[in-house]
Symmetry: C3
Subunit: 336 residues, 3 copies
């Protein structure tokens, strides 16, 4: 009897200006309106210092490749990693076609981040996406925005860098809404657009003293809270790593569970995990069909100058339209 407006009904008009908390006076505009959706179903780390692994990138099927300066690189190899990553970007020697080419810096508190940025961002070509790990407070983002502005001051940007942040501590989790709010505010003026949150479960477990299990019951609150915050701010949410990389059945189960919770992608630590993960985070055919029909109906109404419209019995609003477009973009990547 309850209306079956499930796939649709968020009302006619959705406020563009949304405040997440009444205690904040600043408003943020959701900057997702027109941006291109970059799929990051499988997020695979490649140590920037490892030539052999860098050379394998073209053969990898993950849709987000992370050239890593951080945890994947020993302290003694930090210089080498920066230099190799800069070189790869500068010469475009590696073929990233069909993939999100991204770089993970060291954290703000590591003391290594500025040097990472200076070197990597001096390459002729910038990575479309950068990752900032261990963001524990809004101040980290402000620091990062400041450095980025300085380093890119003389470079005209065609597109802002997409920013992926990591939440990896109890402190970070507790202030995640504040971090996101600040990130979206900074996205207005800084050379980045906050785009995704990664749940860094291993550092999080170390921080709270938890013991990881494959079932990850100990992380249920943290994971569901990360999804909730990410989606409240219209960001992608990237789920934890499945450590036991030989157990593909367990990986499949956890991937589908994460997708079912609302995550949009998952970190992987081995190329063998990519296919299972990408399948779990790809839209099923009936959703693709729905999305295609909806977008077509929208464009038809647009041409006729109409506003709100009904589709298959449901009122269509902007979030639904964006959702449909994202599904189509994901589908295009998946099936190509």
């Amino acid at each position: 009897m309850l209306g079956m407006l499930r796939q649709g009904g968020r009302g006619l008009v959705k406020c563009v200006v949304r405040r997440v908390s009444a205690s904040t006076s600043s408003k943020h505009q959701s900057p997702v309106g027109e941006r291109r959706y970059i799929p990051r179903r499988a997020v695979l780390y490649v140590p920037g210092s490892d030539d052999r692994k860098l050379l394998k990138i073209p053969s990898l099927a993950a849709d987000c490749i992370v050239l890593d300066c951080e945890d994947g690189v020993a302290l003694s190899m930090k210089d080498a990693a920066r230099s190799k990553i800069r070189h790869a970007l500068h010469t475009q020697a590696i073929d990233f076609s069909g993939k999100d080419c991204s770089v993970r810096f060291n954290s703000v508190e590591s003391g290594l981040c500025e040097e990472d940025m200076r070197e990597v961002l001096s390459a002729r070509h910038l990575p479309p996406t950068v990752h900032l790990p261990k963001v524990d407070s809004p101040e980290h983002l402000a620091w990062f925005a400041d450095k980025l502005r300085t380093l890119l001051a003389t470079r005209p940007l065609q597109d802002k860098l997409r920013l992926v942040i990591f939440t990896e501590s109890a402190e970070s989790l507790l202030c995640l809404p504040d971090i996101c709010r600040r990130g979206l505010e900074l996205s207005k003026d800084a050379p980045f657009l906050l785009d995704a949150i990664v749940f860094g479960s291993d550092d999080f477990c170390a921080d709270i003293g938890a013991t990881r299990t494959n079932e990850a019951k100990e992380l249920l609150f943290a994971r569901q809270y990360v999804v909730t915050v990410a989606k409240a701010f219209k960001l992608q949410a990237i789920d934890l790593v499945y450590i036991d990389y030989k157990d593909l059945e367990g990986l499949r189960r956890q991937s589908e569970e994460g997708a079912g919770m609302g995550f949009t992608g998952k970190q992987v630590i081995h190329p063998g995990q990519v296919a299972v993960v990408q399948a779990a985070f790809s839209p099923p055919p009936h959703k693709v069909e729905w999305a295609a029909a909806l977008v077509e109906a929208f464009e038809h109404h647009q041409k006729e100058g109409k506003g709100a419209f009904s589709f298959r019995g449901n009122m269509i609003d902007m979030p639904l339209l964006l959702q449909a477009r994202n599904i189509l973009q994901l589908a295009a990547v998946t099936t190509k």
Copy 2:
């Protein structure tokens, strides 16, 4: 060895003025002190536009009937729904005895809410309870209070309308404490008393991109957070719909789980679900006996002018007394 003051021991005196967050300077007085408890174990939606279903209401056993303007009514039928609901209230043609007669408006952001209110609230008899769906921010409640004040300015109210709000998005969930705080503040002056929170799981899942399962593990954080916030503000908490309406065993399991989590009722989408749900949310006999004896003891002490008192070894405070009264009211409804 730990004191077995379980059913009792919240101390002698409970502050009436409670602040939920130190960052708020405003205090709210819990307005639950004297109000009558309206049981809403099974909350059943009836589309306002559907004559056949409206006529069946007297035969329904749910203790809260929702005359729906929102998701259960197609856009082309909104006018018809308003008009039929107004007529039903105006003429009192439908027998609601023993039930909470309530109306669900469209959401503030739908652009339809004001017209719903104007029409429905022009009936000679007002519904005791109104539902406001998709409350995403405290501002929605302020808007609603404002409209309600205007529409009811010339009507003397015997009782304020009870207000049931819906949390159905990530944004709403994140600011639910702010929404409730504002709702209770507004309850002082506006023609409503905030009374309950409904967890709108289907829109919530659509908003965060989650996939509903019967076990609802993907909603564990959201459900338990809704209960926690509701109870912190002394509000009823109404649990999610069990979609698979033919599976009564699954419904029973989920109803008992929800009651065990602290929910006070559950949404139902089919009359066949009512009996199972009401049983799960009814107090067991030993609790009824406890409550009856406690209330009797309290009244005895009141007559003698005594304050705090001990009952079956435990100190009795106001929250416990209210809990006991609620149990008796629920029991009275259940067993009549």
Copy 3:
């Protein structure tokens, strides 16, 4: 491929000054830097009014003994409990060696707390640790700090009292970060150091209307949230009681689950529960070995005047060093 810096990698330097929320302007310094770690794996309550049980204390193996004025003591016995506890502290008649000797006062809102404090804290020897139950707001801590300052004004303290607070209501849970922030601020000047949070599950269940089960699924959010907040503020987290004290297998399961979630200890209601609980919350041998080697390496580097250093391939920061020291202290207690 992802760096295996799991047990180590929180970066080079960890800010000492951390702000948990950008909306707070005050900064708190983590006061954990130099304090001695007091293990509280099993937290056992002994009613202060019960001579027989008080006499048994030397035979108990729990590493935290709570002389209780609160839930374990009937209202008519409050005076007796205070007086007996004061006497025990004053004469040091009970051997507490190897145990944390602590006292639980009644809650601030009970109206009994001040008298508890006055009597107990007039003993010649103060308990190293005091427990404050039912802390529902930061104001409770401010009240407590104020009374403590007054009562101890003329006594020079060798060590501040360690303060263990209880979160036992929905309201308390919702403002737990505010409570902790205030507690750490007060710890700078007041005669206490906030040291641990206990999750009081039975009162919490009564408050939210939940029904306790042995599996405690209904408390999953609350437990994981308590751990997250505690660890964000570098506090110990003490898990719920396992009520069914004859079921040692269930106790073991729940203890290991709690330890796996990040709790550092657990409340027990029967001496027979102590061994199982202490085993579950003791560090396994490989962690002890790791910690010993890390601390040795740190001291070696300190002597040579070096700062940040690498250990087994990972960068070592202060939190890790503290974690290692805690493990060693726990291990020392366990194996003695």
